[in-house]
Each structure stands twice: as C-alpha cells, then as structure tokens.
Subunit: 336 residues, 2 copies
Amino acid sequence: MAPKIKDVAKKAGVSVTTVSRVLNGEKYVKDDLKAKVKRVIDELGYAPSHIARSLVRKKTNLIGVIVPDLTSSFYSTILSSIEETASLNDYNLLVCNIIEDTDKELKYLNVFKEMRVDGIIIMHEKLNDEIRNFINKLDTPVIFSSVRPVDHKFVSVIIDDYEAAYDATRYLVDLGHERIAFIGGDMRDITSGQNRYVGYRNALKDQRVPIVNDYIRFGDYKTQSGYNLMKELLACEPRPTALFAVSDDMAVGAMNCIHDHQLKVPDDISIIGFDGSQLTELVRPRLSSMEQPIQDMGKITVNTLIELISDPAFSPREDLILGHKLVVRDSCRSIQ
Amino acid sequence: MAPKIKDVAKKAGVSVTTVSRVLNGEKYVKDDLKAKVKRVIDELGYAPSHIARSLVRKKTNLIGVIVPDLTSSFYSTILSSIEETASLNDYNLLVCNIIEDTDKELKYLNVFKEMRVDGIIIMHEKLNDEIRNFINKLDTPVIFSSVRPVDHKFVSVIIDDYEAAYDATRYLVDLGHERIAFIGGDMRDITSGQNRYVGYRNALKDQRVPIVNDYIRFGDYKTQSGYNLMKELLACEPRPTALFAVSDDMAVGAMNCIHDHQLKVPDDISIIGFDGSQLTELVRPRLSSMEQPIQDMGKITVNTLIELISDPAFSPREDLILGHKLVVRDSCRSIQ
C-alpha cells in the first residue's frame, strides 16, 4: 500500500497542510520543519501523485512530440537535443514515431489532447486536412521544428532551406562543375522538398549552368532511395560530375552506389549532402554537407514552446530562422 | 473554454451517466443513443480528461523508457520497435535519454513514479545503489531490454552474449586467423562487457589460438573509441590480421582508422562487429556482424511488460533469451 500524504503528516507530527506546503515549495515553513518533513518523505518513499497535482494545477509538464522516423540520424539527434532541453526545464516527453502513418498521428494527437499535454512539437510538414483541423482547434501551443507547414498559423524553427540549397549548389559550381545532378525530396514538402529544389535551380540559372532535366530525381530522404536514384544517374550520357543530395542519408546511399559501380568519390563524382548528421563523419570519404544547426534547433524549439506555454499572449508572428553552414570534408573536388 | 461532460449531456439530451457509459464503451446503451452522443462529442470537440479518468481507473497507459543514448543506431532502432508495439496496444511512451547521467535517471524514475506509469523499460545495466534501491521498492513492473543487471530480480530480454561473442570469434578462427584483436565494452557491464569478453577468450582457448594481452582493448561502444583503440592496435608488432569489436559503432570506427592509415579492410585486416545495426549496410566494405534481433527484442520487451502489468501474478522467473545470428557481409576474408 503506497503511503499517503496523511501518513507523512502523522509520522512527522505536522498537519497535512504543512506537508503540502513543503511539497509545493511554499514559503512560511520553518527550515527545521521542512527538513523533518523531507526526511519522513524519504523514509516512507512517499510520492505525491502527479495526476492529482495536475488536476489542481492544470499543468502536466508534458510535451508531446511527433517524430517522422526515430531511426534516421537527423531526427534522433534533434530528439535527443529536445529531450535534453525539456529535461533541464522539468518537462517530460511523450514520444510518437509516426513513419508517415497519418492515422497513427491523429490517434496520438488525440492522446496528447486527452492527457492535457502543455505543448506539442511536430517535425514533419505533410499535414492532411483532418490533422490540420485538429491542431487548429487545439488550445494547446503547437510548434514545428525543422519544417514549416503550408498554413502559417504556427511558429516554425527552421533554416532558410532555399538559401542553403542555393549555397550548396553554388559551391559545386565554384569548384568548376557544369554537370550537376540533384536528388531532391518530396515535392509535397515545402521546406525540404520545394525550397531546396528551387534553390538548386536558381543557383544554376544565376551562374548560367545548364539545367538538365535528366539529372534531376526525387527520393524520400532515405539511403535506399539515394542508392537507387544514383544508379539511374550513372546511366545518363554524359555522366554528371557532381551531385547535390538534399539529405545526408541519400548522399551516403549515392556514395555507396558509386562505390559498388567501381567508381570513386570524389575522383569520378563529387557529392555534397544536406543536414550535417553524424553520418557525414562515419563514411569514407567523409561527406561534405550543408549543415543544419541540429542541436540548436532542438534547444530553441523547446525554449520557444515553453515561452508559448507560460505566456499565452506571447506569439512570435515570425518563424525562427537559424543559420546554415557549409562544412567541407572530402567528398568534393575541384575540376577547374 | 473547453467543453465539459455536462455540456455533451445537455446538447445530446441525455444524462451525464449515459455519456460516461458511451465513453467507457459499456453495454446497455442503445445504438442510436450511442451514435447521437458520439456525434455531439465530435461537434463540441469534447475530450474526456485522461487525467481524471486515470484517477478512477488507476491506470495511465503510460510506459516509462530509459534509453542510454538516443543517437546510437542500436538504441534508436530498438526504441522505434518499442514505440510501435506500445502504440499498437494503446500504450504511450515517456522517453528519458540519460547519457550515463545517473542523477538524471533517478530524477526520471521519480517522475515515472509520480506519474503512475504502468510499467518501466530500462536499457542499460550500470545501476548504482540508489537506483537499485529505488526500483526494488517500486510497485510498478520493470523490465530490462538488451541488458541484464547484476541482481536477478527483474526479467531481461536479451541474447546470449557469451555465445554470440564466442561464435563471432570462432568465425574469425575458422577463416584461418591466429592474430585476432578484440575491442570490448565496459567491464562493469555484465552482458555487453564481461560476457562478450569471456566469449572471445574462450573461443580462442578452445581453438588453441594464443591470447595476446596487447591485442585486447576496452572502449565505450562508440565510434570514436573504436577509432582510437584501432590506432593503438595498428602499432602492435606483429599487427593483428583480424578484429572483433563488440559494437558495430566501434567496428566502423576501427574500419575508418584502418582506411585513414592507407590500409584495407578486409585485405589487410578483417573486421566483425556486433549488433546488426543499420550502419552495417551503410559503410563500405559492408560490415559483417553478429546480429541481435533488434526489432523482436523491442516487441517482446513490450509484450512481456504488458503481461506483467495486466497480471501481477505473472512472473516469468527466467530471462527471455533470443537467438543471435552471424550475418556475413564483405569485411572479413579467409587467410588459409
């Protein structure tokens, strides 16, 4: 039988009110009484019910997080940073891994609502109407991290994906490449699909490098699609001399495909990835990549959400746009 | 203002009791009334409070999970499988990423207790006395996944780490190697530290292959330690012809070190890893590995925990030991 607050009060020889005051960190309790109550709490192993307390306080200290894919290096790193910052602020995470299953997402959003989470973090942008309606009707603050959905009602913590893709492409042009292939993302995604694609096109156009439709493919951000699409690109005549892939996972898939065809990176084909995930340092040659500040992204997402939670009047109308950074490693070469 | 149960009752023209019965899926409510109540619930956007319901039911449908490191490919894959199985059974996960911080772990265990989680999953084995005492006193079912702590009070879902390490080493011996180096884990860990080490030693002993202390190093399971320790092993005279590393991450670190020293895997040194994580397929040459059934491990962990939750009398005294499997890829060669 779990000890109750009155057991603590009895054993410490104080009133239930005093125990409650100690638990809630209120003033007006003498230090020696405080110490005594705390000692008894430890001895009895008493835990105040979070559930009962939540009912009174109307605050659960829970944050619901929707992750597209826990096994991707990008998302597990950002989740790790979110968890760290949340924990520092005494928030706990309810984690849902949706893997593109919108039914599951809707089910979890309902759970988040039922559980009265204080805030919700969403890390994908493929919202269907049902999900859009649902979150539009919620009282709970919602924030998007690393993506920006079409309707601009919510705050997003992102980089400028257009600029970042533009800069990555420009880097390959500056190295002297004129046959630059592109493996893009899902064109239903604004941030990681459309913006990165337009950045690639405009960088080529501005530098008067021909845009070749045959060099342009679209994948799903994962290694296998990078591998398969690279196979198609290797069959192009003439073969591209460089590739920009909009995720490190796809870039690594492409690298492996090139290796398996007895060709070399960067000797035969230069590759630049996108994200700056751990993978970039794990492969050989090490992968040059357009880096997102993944750690900061997680941290700023949680801190902004906490501001939204504690001050409903606080509403940054603007997205929070963090800086991107080109990190040059060993996968690109100059051909001038 | 969020709608309350009485608002639903009023609008549907029924009693609060009827609404409550519909919500709890009880019988004795006519189908047309049920439909009507459900329609009103949708219209008003009413969500029954999970908190209030938990107080009545004494069940939260929450599982607390302690993960050592979300960014490791092994743990993110097993967590993904745990999440999937939990979700199928209408359990939600509270996730804590401890990164060897025992204070943080203790804090979270307290949160789990306060939140009245229905069960707890722990994925590391370095329990200190404080944590051991805490979980020993808990009423909540606890299960260990992929590890087995020293004291055998709790159920673990694991492979036979000794046998698996023995078989991995034996594979290298069978390929004709006699100078077989070893990069082990933390010797404070029974499962992944000691058992794998003893498996390596005994396989060599049984095959009358000399055990050379200089070929034996201990790391922290991560890529960087594999890299650093391989550097030391490359300086040994004579150089080992093969390596068994007890995590894929360390094996990949070792591979990269060999590559950076202008040597080749498997031509100069054969490598076998341990875990069967996604990394094995992402590197070149692809990494042969002693595979743990990661997906099954997550699934069986959750299913067993749910049995423990629903039937307190159910107590499998035995650990659940799953099969390991040698998966041969391209990182080992025969030197006979």
